[in-house]
Structure formats: C-alpha cells, structure tokens
C-alpha cells in the first residue's frame, strides 16, 4: 500500500540524478596521524603470516604498556588489559609484541593489517574503562570492557574456574586498585593509567584526580568500598580515618587469596595441568605480573610476592614464556 508520505517515482528518479557529478573521496592522508598510530601500536607476532582482510583485523586498546625486562615482551600495565592481551594471544595463536626495532620500520606501513595492541586514552571508551576491543574496519565495532569480560567468562572451563576468576576480580582486583589509588606516587600512577598525561604542573593534580575517579567506577569498586572512594574523591575535604586502616584489610585478604592460589597450584606448571595455560592461569598471571612490574618500595604486594610467594612469580613467568 502506498503511503501518503512516499515520494512519487518520477520525482524520486529526478532527484536521484543529484549530485550531477561525483568525485573520489577526499584524501585523509596525514603523516602526523600515521606517525602517532605507529608510535602507539604494537603488533602481535603471528606464527605464520596470515592473510587477513581489513575487517578481520582487531586491535586491543589498553591504558599503557611496559616492556617486560626478562622476556622483552610488551605487556599492558593494567591487570584487566593484560588478561585480555594474553587471552587474545591464546585464542588466536598469537605471540606477544616486542618493542619495535629498526627492522620493523618497514613493516609499519602494513601494521593496520595485523592485530595490534593500541595504547589509547581511557576516553576512547564510552564508559571510560579499558580494555576495548576494536574490531573490523568498514564494519567497525568497538567492544567495551564489560563486553570483553563477558566473552572471556564464557570461555572458562567450569563453574570452579569461574569462581576462582570471580575471586581474583574482587579480592585481588580491589587490592590492586586500592594500591594504585592510595599508595602509588602520582608519576607512577600516570605511567600505569595514561599514555600521554598532561605536562602542565598546574593541571596535573586535577588530571590525576579525574583519572582516579574514573578508576573508582570500574568494576563497581566504589560501591564495594565507599569509605575508600570518599577518601580518594574528597581527600582534602573529607576527614576519613587513616588511609592505612582502610586499606590494610584489603591487602591482608589479597595476600591470603594469593597464598591459597599458590597452594592450589602446588607443583604444577599451570592450573589446567596441561602444557598450555588456561584462562585461569592467564587471569592470575596478569595480576601477578602487574604487581611484579612495581618496585618493592612502591608496592607492599610486589615485595610480598617476590619474597613470600615465589610459586606465583614462577607461574606468571611460565605464562609469559608460553606466548613469548
């Protein structure tokens, strides 16, 4: 049935002739943009050079990266980003990226055709939380952190693994976040959570506070720890109890949880009992590696892991070695 709002055929045919002349698309070429992309992207290494179409290429957006001193691999600085990075390696049979060398200069032009780790601001995500998974080109989809977590949770083997991962994402995550928010220096925090912090001294404090407030919202941390959130938000206004009194129980819980995981692992290389690490291994290793990336003076948990729980440090090294 014809609608009254439907444009009559002859009229439509007439207007369809416009524009009378169509030129090719305006070039978007910008050397500065290409340079920035190359500087902030780290391509995953593939065992065999796969022929991918532009729509099959993905990128993982993370806060920042650090070079692992032992393996030379580029690792994300945040546990959730690192877990997503390791999981993508496992699922797609990829190897971790290395810091770019001179020989890689020539490959840079093709980098948009290979999966990569992309250092972006938290503002690249609509919910201000990383990681994000950037899929496809013409059929673009940017998956949020929640979307990535949902997919990765579905890959866990059983309910027991899900329970362990949930434990890590609550007890150990809270400890990591508390440490980042309350213990780390401003410079170290910015190094972990922003690739291009504002270099104006006058604004750096305000910028740092904005980042901290965004991190408070991730994984509902602020709902679970109201007192710490108030302390972080209104540090100068709100007279909370001594910060140490607030954070100490979280650190103790985290240490207990890590001890239990070390005991659970026993003498096995991986939890899965196989040659290849499972998702639980990746999850635990990502937290442990992030703690270990900090100095002993910066983090009491890093000191604890190095001095008391060697098994987990060895386990995380084994995970990295697998994807090296």
């Amino acid at each position: 049935m014809r609608s009254i709002l439907q444009v009559p055929g002859p009229v439509k045919a007439f207007f369809d002739q416009f524009p009378l002349q169509t030129y090719p698309a305006v070039s978007k070429k910008d050397d500065a943009s290409v340079y920035e992309y190359n500087a902030q992207s780290y391509g995953f290494r593939e065992q065999e050079a796969a022929q991918r179409s532009a729509n099959d290429v993905f990128k993982l957006g993370v806060y920042n990266v650090v070079e692992d001193p032992e393996s030379g691999c580029v690792l994300a600085t945040d546990p959730w980003c690192l877990y997503a990075q390791l999981s993508l390696c496992k699922k797609n049979g990829l190897k971790l990226a290395h810091k770019k060398g001179a020989q890689q200069q020539q490959q840079r032009q093709q980098q948009r055709q290979q999966p990569a780790l992309l250092v972006v601001s938290r503002l690249a995500a609509s919910d201000k939380s990383l990681p994000i998974l950037i899929e496809g080109c013409s059929k673009r989809n940017v998956r949020s952190t929640a979307g990535i977590n949902e997919i990765l949770s579905s890959r866990l083997r059983d309910a027991e693994e899900l329970m362990y991962v949930s434990l890590l994402d609550s007890v150990v995550y809270d400890c990591w976040t508390t440490q980042a928010l309350c213990e780390l220096s401003v410079a170290k925090f910015l190094e972990l959570y922003d690739c291009a912090p504002i270099d104006v001294a006058l604004l750096q404090r305000a910028f740092y506070q904005t980042l901290r407030e965004d991190l408070l919202e991730r994984n509902d941390f602020s709902l679970r720890h109201l007192e710490i959130s108030r302390h972080v938000r209104y540090m100068h206004l709100y007279q909370s109890r001594n910060a140490h009194q607030l954070t100490a129980p979280l650190f103790e819980s985290c240490k207990a949880a890590l001890d239990r995981f070390a005991a659970l692992l026993g003498s096995r290389t991986f939890f899965s009992g196989e040659m290849e690490p499972g998702y639980l291994d990746l999850k635990l290793a990502s937290y442990v590696l992030c703690f270990l990336s900090l100095d002993d003076q910066e983090s009491s948990l890093a000191r604890y892991l190095r001095q008391e729980v060697h098994a987990l440090a060895i386990h995380s090294r084994a995970v990295i070695a697998h994807f090296k």
């Binding site: 416009f18 030129y23 978007k28």
Partner: protein, 495 residues
C-alpha cells in the same frame, strides 16, 4: 408620500455625509501635519547644512543623572568626544558617538542631548595670544566668531541586575539557559555575566565573564568557562580561560582589532561503538594555549541579515609548538529597487593551518569543518572533507563561498515583513594538505568543489536569522554527507 422610512433614509444619508466629511477633514489634517513636518525637516536640514562649518567651542557640559557613571569615566568620555568639537557638524557627529558609546559600552540605558548656547565668543586674530570675549568687537575683519555651546546630556541609568531564563528549540536540538548579569557594576561599564546552558547538542555550558571598557574605544574581556558539547561522534569537554582586548572604533571608518589569549584543557571522548582509529587515537586530554589576533572592516548596516555593506575579517591564531592558523572572510551585500526589494549577498571564506609537529596530529576542534545549514547548505554538519570510516576529521585548508539572492515577498500585505524569498548557490573544498607545498595546496583547493543550490524562505529577525531551504547537491565527493531536500537553519551568520 413622506413616511418614517423616508425620514430614516434622509437621516442615514446625512450621517454618511457627515462621516465622509469628517474623514476628509482628518485626511487633510494628516496631510497638513506631514507638510508641516517636512517643512520643519527641511528647515532643520538647511540650518544644519548652512551652519555645518560654524566654529563652535564646548566650554562646559551639563550632565543630568550623572551619578550612574563614575566621574572620571564620564569625564574621559566627554573629553574624547563632544569637548573636541570644532564645528557644528563635528559636534553633531561627536554627540552621536558619545550617545552610542555610553550605551554600547554598558554605562547607561539611554542618552539624549540638547544643545544650549551662552552666546558667541570673539577672538582677536591680531593678538599673539587671542583671548575670547563675549563683547562685540570694535574692529571688524580681524576677529573670528565662535559659538559657545553647552551640551546638556541626559543619562538614563540602566537596570544593573538582570536574570533571564529560556529555552531554544530547533534542528532536532533543544536547550534551556539561565543568564545572570550585573551591568555597570562599579559605574565604569563593568559587566559580570554568568551563563548556564543545558541541552542536547551543548550538553552543558557554564561561563563566568567579566568585561570592562578601558576607554570609549577599547574593551577588555576575560572569562572562565566549562563547556561540554558533541562534535561529530565525540564528546568534547573544555575547561578554560580566555582574555581579550578589542577595539570598538566606528565600524565604517576604521579597522577594528581583537587580541586574545586562551588556555584550555580539553577532554575528547569517543561516544560511538563504531569509532575510527583516528578518533580513538584522538581521544584523551590535552592542554592548549593560543594567542589570536583578528582585524575587521565592517560597513554593513546591521550584523544579522544585512541589506548593504561589506565585511572583511582576517584572523591569525598561534598555538606555540602546535600550529599557526590563518582564516579570512569577505562578504559583500547589496540591495536594489524601492525599499531594498532585491538583495544579493556574496561570501568567500578560506583558511590554512600549519602544523608545527610532524608526530602529533592537529586536534579535530582546531581543524576546519564545512557543511551544514549555516555553512555549505545541502550537506550535513561537518559533512565535507576528509573522513575516517564515518568520522569527519576536518581539514587544514579550505575555501568556501556562497551567493544568495533575496527578494521581498511579492504580496503587498507581506512585502514589508522581515520574510524574504531566497535562492542560493554554495560551494566548498576542504582538504588535508599534509605539509604540501603552497602551490600544490592551492591547486588542490581550486578543483573538485562540492557545490549545491536551492531555494527557500528566510526570516531576518533582529535576534537571529531563520532559514528553511530546499536544496540539492550539484557536485559532491563520495565521502561527503549530502542532504537533499529541506534543511532548516538558525544562526547569526550564514554563507
């Protein structure tokens, strides 16, 4: 046979005749008044033209309601205007300027002047140090007569504190605003303004502004603001401060200048789940400092929907270690026939940005954007230029132009209204020069223009201009976002 019916007819006839006579008398009276007015006008004109070059001297000024302006400020205004008058014509001109400046610089609501005289002063030209005298000179031929004028200035104080709230709706957008003003706060034209806006496109905007005239010809303005608005598929949050000094010379006689300095912290957030790589890399926080200079030449009869005059503007902006940006605009408006029945408007704009850094791309809000109902019609807002996927990236060089023809409505009843029929032709080219040579850049700008044409209806309201056009793109690039059909525009300036 005479009956009551014939009496009634007679009475009606007499009443009709009487009303006709009275209306004729009224018409005659009106015409008489018009003639009298014209005579007075002619007399005044003659008087002004005959006495235009009569030497005058303003020996003193009487100001009524002077308490609303600080004495030193008022003295400054008087010293720079009417007390400098040398001839009668000059005095009239300076009186107009004084009125205009007192009002436009926010010192008074209104100002009127009357002229009084204390007589004629006579100067002996033979004296080495001539002393004026009101006495009639004995000798003739060696004296000059100067009329001693005493202007009486009546000031009407303005309402110092005002608050305004309202809503704006249009183009699928809407917002509500609150504006608080404290005008002439310290008696020198100082103005404090607080603006708060919440809406769909401008999600939130807060502005605290302080402005003050430094002299009748220069104004100083500084503001602190926080503004959050959508820009393409991004949310742009800006917190900043801006200070500027601008001139307010007579528009049609002098160039005007504006020198500004701005510091802002902007946060760019990607809001779409389909964002391109360029936009994702652009997201983040950045601090920008810039220094800008503009020079204007404006002879238009009014800034919104002018009927005659020209407007030229050249702006340079320098952001240290980031970019240098140059932008120009030229427009000419001319009207013909009785009551400015036909009007033609020509506008040309262009700009270029030189990015100092080879490793850091320009921010999208620093780049040029084209397209939209107020710019190149028949294209979407930011619909032209380089794009990555569906995200408009803007360009660092552009040229755009527009020709518009307006006519009053061809109906007697509506011809005096502010409505006009409108036909337009627009075109533009927006590119990324990517550090190309100037010659290649000009060559790129000169070809493959996106153009459009259409007709519509325009309402030239003193507050803003409203347009409803039906347009079609004539030529376009495959990456352009064209918009065929009706397009509604509201704004202060159009291409």
């Amino acid at each position: 046979m005479n009956g009551p019916a014939s009496d009634n007819e007679e009475l009606e006839t007499r009443i009709l005749e009487a009303s006709q006579r009275s209306s004729k008398l009224e018409e005659i009276d009106l015409e008489h008044q018009k003639v009298l007015q014209n005579q007075q006008l002619l007399y005044a004109k003659d008087l002004f033209s005959n006495k235009a070059h009569t030497p005058v001297h303003v020996s003193s000024v009487v100001v009524n309601n002077a308490e609303c302006v600080r004495p030193s400020v008022l003295q400054n205004y008087l010293d720079q205007t009417i007390t400098r008058a040398t001839t009668f014509e000059h005095l009239c001109e300076l009186s107009d300027i004084l009125n205009m400046k007192l009002i436009s610089n926010g010192l008074v609501e209104n100002c009127t002047q009357t002229l009084d005289s204390r007589g004629v002063l006579h100067y002996e030209l033979q004296d080495s140090d001539p002393k004026p005298s009101y006495a009639t000179p004995h000798s003739t031929g060696h004296t000059v007569s100067v009329v001693d004028i005493v202007p009486i200035v009546n000031l009407q104080p303005l309402k110092k504190i005002s608050a305004k709230t309202g809503t704006n709706i249009g183009n699928g957008e809407g917002d509500g605003y609150l504006q608080l003003q404290w005008r002439n706060a310290l008696g020198g034209g100082e103005k404090f303004t607080f603006d708060a806006t919440k809406g769909t496109k401008t999600h939130s905007s807060y502005l605290f502004d302080y402005s003050q005239p430094l002299s009748p010809w220069w104004l100083w303005d500084c503001s602190v603001y926080k503004n959050s608005r959508s820009l393409g598929n991004m949310e742009l949050l800006m917190r900043g401060t801006r200070a500027s000094v601008r001139s307010a010379f007579e528009k049609h006689k002098h160039l005007n200048y504006e020198l500004g300095v701005e510091s802002l912290w902007r946060s760019t957030q990607a809001t779409s789940t389909h964002s391109s790589d360029s936009l994702l890399l652009l997201a983040g926080d950045e601090v920008k400092n810039s220094l800008s200079h503009s020079v204007f030449w404006d002879t238009r009869d009014r800034p919104i929907f002018p009927l005659a005059g020209s407007f030229y503007k050249l702006t340079n902006e320098l952001s240290p270690s980031k970019y240098w940006k140059c932008f120009f605009e030229a427009s000419k408006v001319k009207s013909w026939r009785k009551n400015d029945f036909f009007t033609a408007s020509f506008t040309l704009k262009g700009g270029y940005i030189n990015n100092f850094s080879a490793s850091k791309p320009l921010h999208i809000s620093d780049k040029f954007h084209n397209g939209g109902s107020n710019d190149v019609r028949s294209f979407q807002l930011m619909g032209l230029g380089p794009k990555d996927l569906h995200d408009s990236l803007g360009g660092d060089a552009f040229v755009s132009y527009g020709v518009s023809l307006f006519s009053r409505l061809p109906f007697k009843r509506w011809s005096d209204s502010n409505f006009r029929l409108h036909a337009f032709f627009n075109g533009a080219r927006l590119i990324n020069t990517n550090g190309d040579q100037l010659k290649n850049c000009i060559s790129s700008l000169a070809r493959e223009h996106s153009t459009s044409t259409g007709i519509g209806l325009v309402l030239g309201h003193p507050v803003a201009r409203f347009e409803l056009n039906f347009g079609i793109p004539l030529t376009a690039h495959t990456s352009d976002s064209a918009r065929k059909g009706f397009q509604y525009g509201i704004g202060l300036s159009f291409l």
